[in-house]
Symmetry: C2
Subunit: 339 residues, 2 copies
Amino acid sequence: MYGAGDVRIEERPDPKIQQPTDAVVRVVLSCVCGSDLWPYKSMPAAGTGRPMGHEFLGMVEETGSDVSGIKAGDLVVAPFTYCDNTCDYCARGLHISCRRGGRYGFDGVDGGQGEAVRVPQADGTLVALPVSADSALLPSVLALSDVMGTGHHGAVTAGVGRGDSVLVIGDGAVGLCAVIAARRLGAEQVILMGRHKARTDLGREFGATDVVAERGEEGVARVRELAGGDGVSKVIEAVGTRQTLETALAAVDDGGTISRLGVPQYQEGPVGPSMIMRNITLTGGASPARAYIEELLPEVLNGALEPGRVFDQRFPLDEVPHAYQAMADRRALKALITL
Amino acid sequence: MYGAGDVRIEERPDPKIQQPTDAVVRVVLSCVCGSDLWPYKSMPAAGTGRPMGHEFLGMVEETGSDVSGIKAGDLVVAPFTYCDNTCDYCARGLHISCRRGGRYGFDGVDGGQGEAVRVPQADGTLVALPVSADSALLPSVLALSDVMGTGHHGAVTAGVGRGDSVLVIGDGAVGLCAVIAARRLGAEQVILMGRHKARTDLGREFGATDVVAERGEEGVARVRELAGGDGVSKVIEAVGTRQTLETALAAVDDGGTISRLGVPQYQEGPVGPSMIMRNITLTGGASPARAYIEELLPEVLNGALEPGRVFDQRFPLDEVPHAYQAMADRRALKALITL
């Protein structure tokens, strides 16, 4: 990406092992993330492009001398940040803050929207898959690299449990995965706030019990009515605007929890006296996706979880610019990149 | 209180039973709260005074026909809001949001800084004490009406547990009680941020392992150094200014929790992308003090907890205006009102 609206397909040097902890992975499936759309809308024009993409699965081509957990020929999935899976942050499940971790597309590491990626900390990062490279399950496995792990993080940090009434704000891929996660953790009522019918219909199939298309005060009133008057006990905020945070605060019951997953497009938020008098908790954050792969993978492999249904359009690698535009225009929910 | 700096002692009608769920309590001990200082500093002048005080302990004089749990002659302690202790909010420990609850000094209910109080929802609100009205333990019991229950709420909502490194911001009565609470819940390191030596010395006696007198960036650097470089896992913020919230955010480790107890003197806070990338949780709120009395009372009665040591000055009722001024000038940590 060279700037807002400017995504180009270019030749880059073949990735090679640089550190003994690296692996080179030949990408089989990748995708475009909702968070890629923020720079697609606002990145200043730059003389050098930035490699894009942080969700991929592929075949291991080569491993460094210190890599022992995976080998050439393994099909692997990568979480959206790399990590050693051994440091103290990883040990407590906060892989996103790994001491040796980092982001794809930065610091000389390739992006996932490409033919191959040098993956640092390969032993900690990559999870070998017991399926073949032509399995129909692969899109759902790929979802574990980000959107499903992120939706799950929202439900976990919100403390969703049996019988809860949960509001999910946002009908993007993360919001829809949060619906799956909330139901999986026992929520009785899952209200999905969104106005794109094809998406909210998929949300219903994922387990949403109610859909609210209204926004602002009207939307809040509808949510409160559906939840029995007092508001919901848990909110998963999967958009990231100031308005959706305000909606979350207005829709949550006293003593409730709001988990934020969308990257905030604001610096300041309304966290004054009302939040204190009502004992509202604000939690969530960037998902430690790696932490959740082992837990969720079996249910993806046995078909119980189908987060891959969020991929509603496929694009070959050389059409990635169209994939961005389709998602920016909301013609595509989430674009799968095939190689 | 008739306005900022204007506290008067006046005759008021004797409280009488108005509802069958009321009790009339003759006050034995009361006190001035740090939160009373906000109106003392800023309340607009008013033609009619507002009854003050929400922390008291006293002798039941009379009970309404529906009151069965307490009787005339019982010595009782009242939490700082009244509540029925039976509604769904109370049932989940959120007595501060009780459906039949309310605040002393409002809606025709007396304040605790007076000779007697009509207490609504007496059965739910008042806890009978197995001690006599001249017990030396009474100041520590009185602390359960607010400051100790509030400090405990901070430690509970922050999730303080064995081995934690906890920062308590503020050397007021709530901050000092939070030190007691954090140690009681197993914190290994409790860093107290405050610059009033007599108070921080008491904080050390309550179990603070370190005291940081510096503020701002310098204070944060010192806290991080004491906590081993990455910051503390839990912060209890017992002041309520924008600056102390910023200090909390800067001093907490990734994945950590900030519990706010002070009434925020700000409407907007810095809850943007950094909080999300670092998975910081913002929790806490007004304490459901009633919820904690039964849990903490035995340890107060056996002398294991001595929160009453925060009362460093005593004033008879007719000197309450001086008590306010002494606290506003920081000459008194917390003023006990005797009757």
